[in-house]
Amino acid sequence: MLILQSLSKTYKTGDTALSEVSLTVPKGQIMGLIGPSGAGKSTLIRCINRLVEPTGGQVLLNDVDLVGLGKRELRQQRRRIGMIFQEYALVERLTVMENVLSGRLGYVPFWRSYLRRFPAEDITRAYALLDRVGLLQHADKRADALSGGQRQRVGIARALAQDPELLLVDEPTASLDPKTSRQIMRLLIEICAERGLPAIVNIHDVPLAQQFMQRIVGLRAGRVVFDGSPDLLTQDALTTIYGEEDWNAMRKGDEEQTAAEADARDRISALAR
């Protein structure tokens, strides 16, 4: 269980990214975080594993307060939080296997990771995870040889290799086409259900959020302005989150646009071949 208590972040520039955000994410819940660009979604999830230092409040992960931990304890606590990134953030020149094994870095001493001599159970686990995400035969390929969807699967496997108690997911589908996006979301949901993992998913795409999330939190200018099940996300609710807009027309327009973009991408890549 994750509890955020009046979490705040003010950047050095004086911009307030988060003000007094309090949330509770119980075990096994998948929470979607929506909101306009600059609302603080990214800051929020980065404050949880302290890739961004919060300026106030508490982050309690299964009763351990992550704010104010020393360097060493912080590293140990970070092992419990898996993170999945927007542009996959794989180390492109390492192999798929190395990327997955890098999820174990917090558990092994430097010499083992340097010599790539990971313990047998870590290696078995990595293979099992690659099998789970359907990439077993790609283990020894370099990460940059994979397609976008495949890379995000590696990202998921890396996060799971940590054996986490919480998943932070930052725009997992922002650089994927609509179909792959749905496959990736489905995979994430299944995996969270299998392990009873709570997850916070930053997501731009409102229809996608409504389709897959159990709970949706809307952030606007660093404040929670909506918190409820996806069915409650009405036109009015969207307007409080994003501001005035014709949402139904936009949804339709969005679909058309993504389809057109995907089409154009296919044609360009066909030309490039």
């Binding site: 092992r79 953030a89 190395e98 890098s102």
Partner: protein
């Protein structure tokens, strides 16, 4: 039908906005150039004599004499190549920690400052100046040359490595950090893979440069093929000097092509 929009467009001045200043600066530059040219004294008889000497030099080139001084040449070459290789290896080995320390995004401020100062000192002192100084300290010979080139390599590799590390994709480092990895593990897993091909490329490039420099610093007494070349020229043995220059050009070209081939292979 007349268009409501203008038909003429000129690019607005970007740097100096004021037209009068622009003209003043341009006129000023021309006046300075003319005056400066006027102060250069050209002694045409000396130019003529120089041309004659140059001609002999060219003749030496056309009939290079590899044989009569071959022992000196081969000794100088071996010395130079040894100096080049050892100084590059030692220089790169020292550069890597300094380069990592000089990267603002992964090093603490005080280490960053120290490493940047080392780089600044190494880059501020030109090879020949260091060579003269070290030859005075350790005497003539390749040891002074080895030290000179190692020192110069540090400034070159460490700076470019540090700049490269500062431009890595931060997301990859962030991802590794978020797994609970230690600083060393972040360097090993997120930074090294991103900068390694370039580091190898730079080292090969530096190997090139060090060989060329070894010929230059030999002239001030730091041993190697440069010393042999210097001796040949002061003895007016232009045919031997021509042979030495041809060998240097040949080796530089081989090094250039093989290193660029290797770099392409590494990408």
């Amino acid at each position: 039908m007349s268009a409501p929009y203008p038909t003429r467009w000129t690019r607005p001045p970007q740097i100096i906005k004021d037209r009068r200043w622009r003209i003043a600066v341009q006129v000023g530059i021309v006046i300075y150039l003319v005056l400066a040219m006027g102060t250069v004294e050209v002694n045409w008889t000396r130019v003529y004599e120089g041309l004659e000497r140059g001609q002999r030099f060219v003749m030496g080139f056309l009939q290079p004499d590899f044989a009569s001084r071959w022992r000196d040449i081969s000794n100088g070459l071996v010395e130079s190549l040894t100096m080049t290789l050892t100084s590059t290896v030692v220089g790169v080995a020292i550069s890597v920690p300094i380069g990592i320390g000089a990267a603002r995004n992964i090093a603490p401020v005080w280490i960053y400052r120290i490493c940047r100062s080392i780089i600044a000192v190494s880059r501020a002192l030109q090879e020949i100046i260091i060579a003269i100084f070290l030859v005075a300290m350790f005497g003539f010979g390749p040891f002074a040359g080895f030290l000179t080139l190692s020192f110069a390599t540090i400034g070159f590799i460490a700076k470019l490595l540090a700049d490269d590390i500062e431009e890595i994709e931060e997301a990859q480092a962030e991802a590794i950090r978020s797994t609970g990895a230690s600083w060393w593990q972040v360097v090993n897993y997120a930074v090294q893979p991103q900068v390694m091909p370039r580091l190898i490329g730079l080292s090969l490039y530096r190997l090139d440069i060090n060989f060329r420099e070894s010929a230059v610093i030999g002239i001030v007494g730091a041993g190697g093929i440069g010393a042999t070349l210097n001796t040949a020229i002061s003895r007016y043995e232009y045919d031997s000097a021509g042979a030495i220059l041809l060998i240097i050009i040949g080796i530089v070209m081989v090094a250039e092509y093989s290193s660029s081939y290797l770099r392409k292979f590494l990408q």
